[in-house]
């Protein structure tokens, strides 16, 4: 049995952006527990502030009020313990795959050269990029770039991996392959993971617990425990249990998404026509 105590705790966090006279609340009274060795998936309607939640968790932004605690200490800035894998790719274009993967450990100098090389080779093998280790990011396909990005994050052995829509922008086929690949990776070795996505199915198949965010200003609408058996595969999405999770979450997401349409004339037109659909 893997340990699932609480690693990170988000307590009443609020965050607003903009100057005083037009300050817009993006996050309001967010409460969230991130458990050890679990994958916490976060879904929310588009534009609800998911990326802001990621920036807060990572420490790139600090909350206006409330606190984010990690192992009893308040998060006060970015750290290698909370590693972020970004939307699209953030691989350095001027470094080869191998140089990108070894970037973190080399920076900190916390790994002797030989074990770093071994670890890097092993991890590049795991993501299937051995033949491409001396290629530059622009020479890799979209899927390979994401795998290189995963390798670069994994080698740092962060306490928690924060993934901000990591498979966004990939074509449907590659996206599916990446989901399967990531599922295997997570089930082989237990990790603490925060996985932010706008794809509900992706969230359900990967998650141990699914956090549904509300519309902006965002807060937690509901946390759903996903009890699909492990090891999982993408076929399970057509099981009745998965369907129930999906329908339940979808209803909430619809409600939240529609909120951003109300209040404007064109928005209410849209709502009307939307309601007429079967």
């Amino acid at each position: 049995m893997t340990e699932t105590s609480i690693l990170m705790e988000v307590k009443n966090v609020s965050k607003a952006f903009g100057e005083d006279w037009e300050r817009e609340k993006v996050v309001e009274n967010l409460n969230l527990d991130i458990k050890r060795n679990q994958l916490t998936a976060i879904v929310g309607p588009s534009g609800c502030g998911k990326s802001t939640v990621v920036n807060l968790l990572a420490g790139f932004e600090s909350p206006d009020s409330g606190q984010i605690m990690m192992e009893g200490e308040a998060v006060s800035g970015p750290s290698k313990d909370r590693l972020v894998v970004f939307q699209e790719t953030a691989l350095m274009p001027w470094l080869t795959t191998y140089q990108n993967v070894t970037f973190g450990p080399k920076l900190r100098g916390d790994m002797p050269a030989r074990s770093l090389k071994e670890a890097a080779d092993r991890i590049i093998d795991t993501v299937g990029l051995r033949e491409f280790k001396d290629k530059y990011p622009l020479q890799l396909s979209g899927g390979m770039q994401r795998r290189a990005e995963l390798a670069r994050a994994l080698i740092n052995q962060p306490l928690v991996m924060i993934m901000d829509e990591p498979f966004r922008g990939l074509d449907a086929m590659t996206r599916q392959l990446m989901q399967e690949f990531y599922l295997r990776l997570c089930e082989e070795e237990a990790r603490t993971n925060v996985f932010v996505t706008s794809e509900l199915e992706e969230a359900i198949i990967l998650a141990d617990s699914l956090v549904v965010l509300s519309n902006r200003p965002t807060t937690v609408r509901e946390v759903i425990q996903i009890d699909l058996p492990r090891p999982r595969n993408l076929n399970m999405l057509s099981s009745p249990e998965a369907y129930d999770y999906k329908r339940h979450a979808m209803e909430m997401l619809h409600e939240e998404a529609l909120k951003s349409f109300s209040g404007t004339e064109s928005g209410s037109d849209f709502l009307k026509s939307y309601a007429q659909q079967p």
């Binding site: 590693l83 953030a90 350095m92 001027w94 970037f103 920076l107 900190r108 033949e131 990011p137």
Partner: protein, 280 residues
């Protein structure tokens, strides 16, 4: 999982590759066609009795080449090449050495930018030609005054490119590095510096072009030398003053060729220094 095979590069000598390149021949043909049109335009009056506007007033390329052959036998002409090249190179080098750190400092520090950007922007539109009188007073030797003019030509362009390049680096690279434990110095040396490199080379190539553009302005004050050895810019100025229009054209083309060679060298250097940008 889809696996693309890494593309194998054909082994061929660099020169061989260059000469067999379609782009190379396209350039050669373009220049030849230009020369033929110029020749026809310049000869139009003699052949058809009607003067073509503009091009009819200059000597045809055959005459220019004949003059060039004469001029090429004088050591002064080649001394001019050498002198202008040194002036351009020293001014350019100084502009790089001062401009790159200055641009980077403005990019990374808002206080530094706040203090130095406004005066920089006021000085920037002043044409190097307008600096000539001031330059003569500033510097003890004429040579230094000329180099100061070429320096000014390159400096502003380099600074603007470095500043713009460094400021447009995607914040995700910086955040990714930060979340792997990068210090401020790491961010600068491992992200901002390599990330700005492409802009540095663009600025250098453009700046190099401008130094050749302004070298004439600087050399107007050189007062010439023995056998027209006052630099290519002075060669043009002197020829114009002496009313030798054909020589003016020789000088103009000489500067054009010199500028093209210099910019090509910089582009080649950029190619070598930035391997990640040469896979297409």
């Amino acid at each position: 999982m889809a696996q693309a095979t890494p593309n194998t590069e054909k082994s061929k000598s660099r020169i061989g590759k260059f000469v067999s390149n379609v782009t190379f021949w396209r350039g050669v043909v373009a220049i030849l066609v230009f020369l033929v049109l110029w020749e026809i335009g310049a000869q139009w009056k003699g052949w058809f009795g009607y003067m073509m506007p503009f091009v009819g007033k200059v000597a045809p390329p055959t005459d220019v080449i004949a003059i060039w052959m004469e001029v090429g036998q004088q050591s002064g002409y080649w001394l001019s090449w050498w002198l202008s090249s040194v002036r351009v190179f020293v001014g350019f080098l100084a502009a790089m050495i001062i401009g790159i750190p200055f641009g980077l400092a403005m990019a990374v520090n808002k206080y530094f930018r706040g203090i130095f950007f406004p005066p920089f922007e006021i000085l920037r539109p002043i044409p190097p030609l307008a600096w000539v009188p001031a330059s003569i007073i500033f510097w003890p030797t004429t040579e230094m005054s000329i180099m100061f003019i070429t320096f000014l030509g390159a400096f502003y362009t380099i600074v603007i490119n470095v500043l713009g390049g460094a400021r447009s680096i995607d914040v995700q690279y910086l955040r990714a590095a930060q979340s792997m434990g990068a210090s401020q110095w790491d961010l600068f040396s491992k992200i901002i510096l390599p990330g700005t490199l492409p802009s540095i080379f663009v600025g250098a190539a453009v700046g190099m072009g401008i130094t050749w553009e302004v070298v004439l302005a600087g050399e107007m004050m050189s007062g010439g030398g023995q056998q027209g050895g006052g630099g290519l810019g002075f060669f043009i100025w002197g020829s114009y003053m002496g009313g030798v229009m054909d020589q003016v054209i020789v000088g103009m083309i000489s500067i054009g060729v010199a500028g093209y060679i210099s910019s090509s060298l910089i582009r080649y250097l950029g190619h070598v220094c930035m391997p990640w940008r040469r896979m297409f």
